[in-house]
């Protein structure tokens, strides 16, 4: 085989010209694509469009898949009931229609970000979510940058409202309420000296809450005899339980998520622990009943909501919940989701009455809504609430509940054992 002869000079020039032309075409195509994208992006930014007279879209990004789904399912129920309450409350009065759009925010940060982005592109007036504090730190800045009001129904890790002026929450503050359950346990067993603590060291909620528990113990002169660290995905706790029980604890404090907590309680009891158990907000859901069953009985938990509260709004919420979900009393997480919807719905109606939603763009309406939301006070299933200027919930009524299981061990309830009125408590703490 012979090597091919080099091309003649005119042929080479022709090829160079062709390449140059090709490059020019490619550059023009790219420039056109970039220009088109920018134009499309500008023209489809819903914030710049005038707000119509139709129904306002309210977005919710909550966990429908993954581990946090246990909370997300309760939240979905609360939001749907909130929407139903809103429809019925305004049936006979002129009101601005609000349409709820729920998207799966998953249980991790990328899913929450994707859901927030999707809902913002769809032109929501405000957002509810995400489910986990860890997700909020990733997704909330996106809403903040685009000026979309966010009401968090369940994340109370320290610093969430401080992400920006568009971020707020209705979830209660563990730093204030978590010590109440410790207080109740020590009131029942004043001689308690030996306390074992379990927490998930790879979970932002758990690490924040356990610090609050430990501070509460220290304030009462108690230092844990053992602190057992677990992992979020753990379900077999025999090794840490074995180590903890060797210290003969009189009180066990758990700050873990629901499934892990249910397993921990069950395995603690099966391995012979008979003392009191105080649990954190991660176990604030009836979804633990099927896991720890009869062993759930007697655990103490501080709550921001009591289904036994007999205010008109809570009676309505309880009735709606029972209609939708059988005989079960509503859990805190559903009540908080309902409240998140309620405060936004009420703020929208007030703003509508003041004319703050007329002849404005969606972006301006969002800004107006945030101001209206933070300036209002609300009578909710959680009790009367308001907001600090930076979006922190102001709630004063808290509860300590004890889980009481039915004899068959399959079902139970959070029975109210103590109610506390705290002055101007605002959220600094941890939630699932």
């Amino acid at each position: 085989m012979t090597p091919s002869a080099p091309p003649s000079p005119p042929l080479r020039r022709g090829r160079i010209e062709q390449r140059r032309l090709g490059s020019l075409r490619l550059a023009a195509l790219l420039a056109a694509a970039i220009g088109a994208t920018a134009w499309l992006g500008r023209s489809t930014d819903p914030a710049a469009k005038p707000l119509g007279e139709g129904a306002l879209l309210l977005g919710a990004a909550i966990a429908q898949t993954g581990n946090a789904n246990l909370y997300g399912q309760d939240q979905r129920m609360g939001l749907l009931l909130g929407e139903r309450w809103g429809r019925e409350a305004t049936r006979h009065s002129p009101a601005r229609m609000v349409r709820l759009q729920i998207e799966d925010g998953g249980s991790d940060e990328p899913s929450a970000i994707a859901a927030f982005n999707l809902l913002i592109r769809q032109g929501v007036i405000a957002l509810i979510g995400p489910t986990l504090s860890q997700q909020a730190f990733a997704a909330d800045p996106i809403a903040q940058r685009q000026g979309v009001p966010v009401v968090a129904p369940s994340n109370t890790a320290k610093g969430i409202p401080q992400i920006g002026p568009f971020i707020s929450r209705v979830s209660a503050q563990s730093s204030v309420i978590a010590p109440l359950s410790i207080e109740e346990a020590l009131r029942r067993e004043p001689a308690t000296r030996r306390v074992a603590v379990f927490y998930a060291q790879d979970d932002a909620y758990s690490t924040a809450e356990v610090a609050i528990f430990q501070k509460a113990l220290a304030a009462r002169g108690l230092t844990p005899v053992t602190v057992q660290r677990t992992q979020l995905a753990d379900n077999d706790f025999q090794t840490p339980i074995t180590a903890a029980l060797q210290q003969r604890p009189q009180l066990v404090v758990l700050s873990v998520q629901a499934v892990a907590g249910g397993n921990l309680i069950r395995q603690l009891r099966e391995l012979g622990y008979r003392g009191q158990i105080v649990v954190g907000n991660g176990l604030n859901t009836p979804n633990i009943y099927p896991i720890c069953q009869r062993w759930c009985d007697g655990i103490l938990i501080a709550q921001a909501y009591s289904p036994e509260l007999n205010t008109p709004i809570n009676t309505t919420f309880r009735a709606l919940y029972r209609q939708a979900n059988g005989h079960h009393p509503p859990p805190q997480i559903a009540a908080q989701a309902f409240t998140a919807y309620q405060v936004l719905f009420e703020a929208i109606q007030r703003l509508q009455a003041k004319g703050g939603l007329s002849a404005v763009t969606l972006g301006q309406a969002r800004t107006n809504l945030m101001g209206e939301l933070l300036g209002g006070t609300y009578t909710t299933p959680l009790g009367p609430i308001g907001f600090t200027p930076d979006g922190e919930v102001v709630q004063s009524r808290f509860y300590v509940a004890e889980v009481r299981m039915q004899p068959n061990g399959r079902d139970g309830r959070f029975a109210l054992v103590r109610e506390r009125q705290l002055q101007h408590a605002s959220g600094k703490g941890a939630t699932p």
């Binding site: 898949t65 399912q73 499934v259 397993n263 395995q267 979804n287 099927p290």
Partner: protein, 313 residues
């Protein structure tokens, strides 16, 4: 001190037994087809849910049929066996959907990794739709063991009865499988297919049937593991088997691809390594397990018993 060590060892061996079950499932399929069935973790989840339903458990409020359950409930051993068999049948379905079409078209067997992963994802999502994502614990908890106490004292160590049962059943399955492979006619036929399918076919062995048998057994082992773990630590959600599937995969590599004794040894080593990590360092537990895997592969690239074990399944 001795009691703690004994307890830790029992915990480790019980956990390792389950890893070995999953790894054996992988091993069976790998031996006959040369690929890894990524749906194994989903079959593990399926086994847990089926055992739950067969024992009389009811679907939770977030499932497709809230409150639905089978009339009555089977005793745990029977429910576990039936669930394992049903998982085996679904394993056959996975083979039919994810592997057979590729094999018939002469496609690269490695493509089966993706199709089986897809089958696993579909299966887990179906479980989520049908059962919801809530956690389930078995209807009678420790009482499911026919009135046995919740925990037993062995040599001063206190171990949950369910954990002991888990240890015994997984040990039984793990020991029975090599014996069956070695001494039964079908086991020998399976080994022959694993060695050389063409020659086995010439000798009158139905290679396709043996392949299906491998998938059935593989699915059944995963289902057995899922049922045992479910009764021990509840079902935390449809995805719970995926973690065990991944750990089983690590055990498969640790023990040596395609080696039955390797899968058992790898499983036990992994379980013990995890159990021996103190709670203060629990964040390093998975890191330690995979560090062991890394170290073993550096020293023995074929896995613990991969090279010495000349005779595959």
């Amino acid at each position: 001190m001795i009691e703690t060590l004994l307890q830790t060892l029992l915990n480790g061996v019980a956990g390792g037994g389950v890893y070995a079950l999953v790894a054996l499932g992988y091993t069976l399929v790998f031996s006959v087809l040369g690929v890894i069935n990524f749906a194994q973790g989903a079959l593990f989840s399926l086994g847990g849910y089926l055992t739950f339903l067969l024992m009389g458990g009811r679907i939770g409020v977030n499932g497709a049929l809230p409150g639905w359950g089978l009339p009555g409930g089977l005793p745990f051993p029977l429910a576990l066996l039936l669930a394992a068999a049903a998982s085996g049948l679904v394993g056959l379905l996975v083979e039919r959907l994810a592997f057979t079409p590729l094999r018939r078209r002469g496609a690269d067997p490695m493509l089966g990794l993706i199709t089986s992963l897809g089958a696993g994802v579909v299966l887990v999502n179906l479980l989520q739709i049908l059962m919801g994502a809530e956690g389930y614990a078995f209807p009678q908890g420790a009482d499911a063991l026919g009135g046995l106490p919740a925990a037993l004292a062995i040599g001063g160590a206190r171990i949950r009865t369910i954990q002991l049962l888990l240890l015994l059943v997984s040990a039984g399955a793990v020991l029975a499988l090599p014996l069956w492979l070695e001494h039964s006619r079908q086991g020998q036929a399976l080994r022959a297919v694993a060695e050389d399918p063409t020659t086995a076919q010439l000798l009158g062995i139905n290679s396709e049937a043996m392949l299906r048998l491998a998938f059935f057994l593989s699915g059944a082992l995963a289902g057995l593991g899922g049922g045992l773990i479910g009764v021990s630590v509840s079902l935390p959600g449809p995805y719970f088997g995926i973690g065990y599937g991944l750990k089983g995969l690590a055990v498969l590599v640790l023990g040596g691809l395609g080696s039955v004794p390797g899968a058992i040894a790898g499983g036990l080593l992994m379980g013990l390594a995890e159990a021996l990590v103190p709670s203060e360092a629990s964040g390093w537990r998975d890191a330690l397990a995979f560090a062991i895997l890394f170290a073993v592969l550096l020293l023995r690239p074929g896995g613990l018993l991969g090279r010495r074990q000349l005779e595959k399944v």
